[in-house]
Subunit: 451 residues, 2 copies
């Protein structure tokens, strides 16, 4: 055939981007693969940052999974760190921007992957730019937080937000014996979770000395003599550091400018092979939307596994393989103090909005068999559809046996199983690990009665 070498350019060197670049080189070693990353860090475990911050003796660079030189030398990827892309010219098929040193660059592509991730939302508040007010997304953010705690010997932190990263951070800070206050405007704690499950988590968090202040609008962040102060209409909380963790927004700005169609929540809209509205341009990871396997509709759940899977899919498609990703079930788990909190699929409200006729049930079960020592409470919330009889979602909270248990209903959602079919699953039983009827089966059996 002859022909020129395919030029595959990736914007962003984290999970999706480096997965795509590595797999493209494995698929076709002759492919010309360039990665443009604005920071100096590639391929690190972002989700591991709270656990690293918890331990003053651990180096933050432990989180780096593979270093830039390895990607360059061993994998033959033209990895350019410190390269900030600012524009895509979809007609000329080039991307351009500036290096950290201020030099401009322009790179041509045949196929382009936008894997720019998401950035922490910083609220539009007076004082949000004060030193000591931090977001947590990049490794640089993590290093800045950890360094600040060490240098200032921080004893008191105010966290704005109560999502799972905020909660993981509260645990990390408590592990360092730091006083923690958490504040947010919305009254409900873990609003995506069933109330009974959310209450169990809330009691665990408060039981570990975290001060929760939900339901407080925030007016401003002020500088006091030595500290910062988060000011609400009816509450002011002081701390040496303010951590803002109210969610992330997709980095889709220059994609939008290049005329690429956007999707849910200003993500970049992609099809099942992760192509954008421009067939030569892909998007994957936290900046792109995804199909939900339960609703069949577009959604946005920025999580690490989907980013890696998306990167691989793009590499395969660019390499000429047939690729069609089924989508996500929205499976997630987090640990907070001694609790495991997990969910997959839809909650009742989401099911209603998606046009289902949901029934749900919340049951209390045990993590081990009757009379087995050390058994703990497990709460299971399960949602099914009265019309199609399908299983729609499961949430669980407990001290043990929750994190991996959620994978069974996740698979059931992918397979489109009915609650009845799920209730017939041959799940594992041994006294140290479960009652004879696994808590999920008990929930399914109870749910069937309500459907």
């Amino acid at each position: 055939m002859g022909g020129k070498t395919m030029k595959f350019v990736v914007i962003g060197g984290d999970a999706a981007g480096m997965s795509a670049a590595s797999r493209a080189k494995r698929n076709q070693p002759e492919m010309d693969v360039t990665v443009l990353e604005q920071t100096q860090d590639v391929s690190y475990s972002a989700c591991g940052m709270p656990y690293n911050i918890a331990d003053p003796d651990r180096d933050m660079d432990d989180l780096v999974v593979r270093s830039a030189p390895v990607f360059r030398k061993k994998q033959g990827i033209d990895l350019r760190t410190g390269h900030r892309v600012e524009a895509i010219d979809a007609t000329a098929k080039t991307v351009s921007g500036h290096t950290l040193k201020g030099e401009s660059f322009e790179v041509p592509y045949d196929k382009l992957l936008i894997a720019t991730g998401a950035s922490p939302i910083m609220p539009d508040l007076p004082g949000v730019d004060l030193p000591g007010v931090m977001g947590l997304k990049s490794l640089t953010d993590g290093k800045r937080i950890k360094g600040f705690i060490r240098e200032r010997n921080v004893g008191k932190v105010v966290i704005i937000g109560m999502g799972y990263i905020a909660l993981e951070m509260s645990e990390a800070l408590r592990a360092r014996n730091i006083e923690v206050h958490m504040v947010k405007p919305r009254a409900a704690f873990l609003p995506r979770f069933n109330e009974q499950l959310a209450l169990m988590v809330r009691e665990e968090v408060e039981g570990n000395g975290v001060n929760l202040h939900p339901g407080h609008e925030i007016n401003e962040i002020k500088k006091t003599d030595d500290n910062l102060m988060v000011v609400c209409p009816d509450l002011s909380i002081e701390g040496e550091m303010v951590l803002v963790s109210i969610g992330v927004r997709p980095n889709s700005r220059f994609a939008e400018k290049a005329g690429i169609e956007l999707g849910v929540g200003k993500t970049i809209a992609v099809g099942r092979s992760l192509q954008t509205s421009n067939g030569d341009i892909y998007a994957a990871g936290d900046c792109a939307d995804a199909y939900h396997v339960v609703t069949g509709k577009k959604t946005w759940v920025p999580l690490a596994l989907w980013a890696g899977r998306g990167g691989w899919a793009v590499a395969d498609h660019v390499s000429g393989k047939d690729v069609s990703l089924q989508g996500i079930a929205g499976t997630a788990v987090f640990k907070v103090f001694n609790l495991q909190v997990a969910g997959t699929g839809l909650n009742g409200d989401e099911a209603l909005k998606a046009g289902f006729d949901p029934a749900w049930v919340t049951i209390k079960s045990r993590s081990r068999a009757h009379a087995h020592p050390g058994s703990k409470t497990i709460l299971v919330h399960m949602v099914g559809d009265r019309k199609s009889r399908r299983l729609l979602g499961v949430q669980m909270v407990g001290q043990e046996g929750v994190a991996h248990r959620i994978n069974a209903p996740a698979v059931a959602l992918h397979a489109g199983l009915t609650v009845e079919a799920f209730s017939q699953s041959d799940l594992a039983y041994a006294p140290p690990f479960s009652p004879v009827w696994d808590p999920m089966l008990t929930a399914a059996n109870q749910l069937l009665k309500k459907m």
Copy 2:
């Protein structure tokens, strides 16, 4: 309608029998439900016995889930303990036998459930009847073992057999600081498991001071001055107690005599609503066979969940409901010392025998994310079919995160997913619980390359 009250008779008061009796009374409180149980014990956690024996301070009766008086008074079940059934007259529709006091009885039935369970196989060896040679199946067996250890202050036990109950018992005895030797004729350790996984378990067992002697035929059990001696051609092992744990056989003798068709391994053959070859007679629990969801063929895996599920299904069918059980995936888990050992579906040999064209892979992964402290090795063995592309089976061993993880492939087997579809599952990730790519996904990705 008037008509007479349905007379439902259940033979056997353990998991399947009491589940059926209780549910039948819940379904139709007016139903006349009689349970005939040969021992004094009903509804106890048989699987919990090794853990109870491990702790000298725990009462064995802790394992009783619900006592006979509760079944009688609160649930209105005519529960007759000490009633040993010896014959079924399928023409006259009666069962007959003797009580422990030697009185004969005869009970008529409209519908009959045989839930007689299984008994430990006692090998045909000289000396197997000596005092101190024990099997473990009933609560009485468990009490006898525990009492013998206490009274004789047992310091050394020989276990014949190395299956999962034998291994659970080895752990229980080591917890009481008892010297344990295990011996069996077959050379392979855990032959149903992949060799690499079996080796990991073997090293754990030996690392905890258990002396394993596989590959030794047993000639006899002898009485010595104070002890018992298990005599092999090339090995003699002394102990104060000999525990025989070489498997169980279904209690199907009087079913066979009554002309009921037998199935796999002398079990009672049943259909998807658990009716035997006689439409008025059901069988459930360890004495009955079952459909395997992977092969669609009959199999026999005597486990507690299936017994309870079978009991419910029989009660529902007797109550006039439509019942069709999908079957079992052969999902099982056990703990041995610090390892969790789990499997579901077929291994490679079984897949070959069932007519599949299997490919398999064994991978080594970690229980937690990159750089997360406390991470342990997880081995995953996965089997798929080259022709249909289906997932056929998964085995796993590890110190943590195995017992509940196995439920995801179990559900996949029920749903008949391909390895490709399973590999696309949105499984849970957080650093304390898993790598980004769950070990099962890594195994599926590797297996796809071999298919």
